[in-house]
Symmetry: D2
């Protein structure tokens, strides 16, 4: 049974919950799930409401148009999405296959609320895997000498997939500013450390060197500032003195896979709102 998901973010105001739920009631809507959060410091209000689609007495377009007036009145940033309309997911990978294989398998088993429309990589390695799962594969090499041109080719390839979400599944290449802007809030990365520890390259080596007792992974939205976008999900796993950087890399892969899948799923179910480089996750 499909639902409409209403996401709202606005300055706090008296009676917000009442006015929104009254609006839904007037349109026959049955609320299946509702979450609210008041950011006390910034006096900003966040809301996510799931309404059973078939309980609404008008079309989605009419519903949206009607809501727009209310939204303007309260200065809301808002979005209504239909769960029946699966988001198009583009996976970008490189040589590491663990995250890509995990996502493809979840897609194949219909565990993700999204449709994986392609795998884009700068190497051929993932091609066979993608084809087995009947997912389009596209390779765009990124070479040192022709980087500027290659990056443009890559972003064009991205556009051709017409994605709603782009998942950097250990893609390992920097995303250009204009692509970050174009797909703002739609590019999800998995970083192989517990941010803000070990921003940048070789986090496992640095974790081993520092002698930490837990290593982690961070799923976050990509912004132009490397590894500094809003964090969606994080997790850790215990390590000890016997674990080399290589061991940590192996152990970390499981954390990466699960943290990425969890963060992506939150996004696909429209459970994530952002505010001041932080996320509100209504899980």
């Amino acid at each position: 049974m499909s639902v409409y998901r209403l996401l709202i973010s606005c300055p706090d105001a008296h009676g917000l919950v009442a006015v929104v739920s009254q609006f839904i009631l007037e349109h026959g809507g049955n609320i299946k799930e509702a979450h609210h959060h008041l950011d006390d410091q910034n006096k900003h209000f966040f809301m996510r409401i799931e309404v059973e689609s078939n309980s609404v007495s008008c079309t989605l377009d009419v519903f949206k148009n009607a809501f727009e007036k209310l939204a303007n009145q309260y200065n809301m940033a808002w979005k209504i999405s239909d769960s029946a309309q699966l988001k198009r997911v583009l996976i970008m990978g490189s040589l590491s296959s663990h995250c890509v294989a995990d996502l493809l398998h979840r897609g194949h088993e219909s565990e993700l609320e999204g449709e994986i429309v392609g795998v884009l990589s700068n190497h051929n390695k993932l091609s066979k895997l993608a084809s087995w799962y009947d997912v389009d594969f596209k390779k765009v090499s990124i070479n040192k000498d022709t980087k500027n041109v290659d990056i443009i080719k890559m972003t064009q390839a991205v556009d051709e997939f017409n994605p709603d979400v782009i998942v950097l599944a250990r893609y390992m290449q920097i995303i250009p500013q204009d692509m970050c802007d174009k797909y703002a809030g739609k590019i999800i990365n998995i970083h192989h450390s517990f941010l803000p520890s070990f921003v940048g390259a070789n986090p496992y080596e640095r974790a081993a060197e520092r002698g930490v007792k837990l290593i982690g992974a961070t799923c976050h939205y990509v912004t132009a500032n490397l590894d500094e976008g809003p964090i969606i999900e994080q997790d850790v796993v215990r390590v000890n003195h016997g674990d080399s950087a290589d061991d940590m890399k192996k152990m970390g892969q499981d954390v990466e896979k699960i943290t990425l899948a969890k963060g992506l799923q939150f996004h696909l179910e429209d459970r994530v709102l952002t505010c001041n480089n932080k996320t509100v996750v209504f899980s």
Copy 2:
């Protein structure tokens, strides 16, 4: 700043959120936090709303009376509590001091949303600790030969403390049926295993014998069925073959302390609703 906490549990009905939030709005109330949960299987709805007390335009009594009509209309089980009115907490302990000391210290540091009004025990051991924290201590021995009479004395002592919540902090004695009934939903126990594993006596010994790799603790409401009441909170800690039952007991104490404090705090903040021997915890 104090809040009124409205807890509702009722059969699912169209427009519930709208009608309740509309009611609050009409009484001037500002919603600070709101949680909803629909139990899909049983078509039962749960709601918890925090309203800023000083935004409400009438007295709490008037507000309650007005709400009662609405509640009856929707067949609601409901409760409105004032966060300014701290719940009276009675701690019952025995020979183990870790949970009692932890709760007393939290009470002393104002970490708990409640007032610890007494420590009741079947032994003298905790008396000095209670007195240092300026908390009344009462001993009621429970002897094999005079158990029936002793239990009656104990329940009388409980009543004299006039508690809103009774915390069994490793009290280790069975609570009689009539006390369970009288304080239904108000007695909180910490069991030193990850229920439903190891119901009953000596869970650490049995965990060691079975060779489990994680041990745990369970905070639950007490019912007449030993260790089978609704679970509020659980947690675990990793053990290995090198840990004896005694080691597990030591390691488990930290889990017990924290799990009990967390579960109690949920209860004190009116975040727990029960339904069919399960809890809804709006955290």
Copy 3:
């Protein structure tokens, strides 16, 4: 660089560590890793030593023959395995693919210290996946009416793979006593609950019904007593009132995958010794 792995289990005796390390030294062996454990209660000693193969001054057979004398003297149960000799792993699955896909991918990426020699199932579903990973697939149906015969066919098929380890990756069929005996200590199962909670069928449904706040998975050796064999590894994940039995099933799959892979890897690296239905895991 390959190693010999020496596993010893024997009654505690004075000088055991000295006598074994002296023996290794006399044969030129360089110890790379060593673990000891004294089970204080049963006065039983456990040892695992990794010796660099190329440091040993004789053949493995000569080394083993020499060690046998020492072993007899101290009444040791013992085993020496060569890490260069990968164990043959047979995966048995059914309709759930998450564990099988995860193991096949780990095998493919050489993350496991073993060679996956086949997938045996009572359904066809996993056939395509196995073939993509170039792993033999064999189907043996288990039907209600012909169960006795089918089980015999199944055990014959198992034998034909000549496995060193059999992994029940959510195989969901009961293993007959004679197969349990034949492959004692060589069949590894993943049970989808935190044992000893929810032994048997439908653990997620029962976990949801009981209202637990954590669900888990248990990797254990299979014995003739269902879900009661020695536990190798366990893990849990947090759930809440909003999670249905179906949600728990989905969330539990990740715990199952990782717990099974971890337990299997411990076994493949000869890190697990058993004693009185418990395991010693030298990790």
Copy 4:
């Protein structure tokens, strides 16, 4: 039953385990527990052996003298301690009482392998608590204007307690270089973040600002470089968008308490060796 704990750290060499265990055997010693670790990268070997005291056929002094010859031969850094000789623990605290109260209670219940000989603070707040536990309390104020002199007074007060271990239980003052040197490897701090994230002041505020989904605590040895000494133990707890910096502070206190107690206990049981700003923890 007391044990001698032998800690060894030396360049890797052929036959180390054999030669040490042979030495112990020759002196009648019964090994109760033994751990080894080879740092492959630095070719450095670490060993910890527990020998039952009453099995050794000579005095501890004779044993030590004999071992010294062996140690010199292999260029060992080494230490033999007697578990019957409890380490003197000095707790240094300030205004936060959670860690201090937790340690005092553990000391009182004989959970720690050490004797708490005093609480030293720059405030009076902890005085009553210390006195209840019959532990000496000493106040040395640290004032802005007289900092240099105050710090000298503080270090003198420390010396007067003649401590084997100094625990900074949220002491919040910088330890001078000469005290770091004098008590190298003997000062244990709890930092209220998951290092290396949020080194320095106000980690919870910065964690809230960054929007991390887990917060943590780190128990480490103090060196002259703030928050950069060898890490003994770390742990984390999950937070979400609803948790303010103040909430995180409260939640973090439980992690701090347990992480500090765990790290301290490892140290008291002589389970920690350091090497290149990292620890080997034989737990």
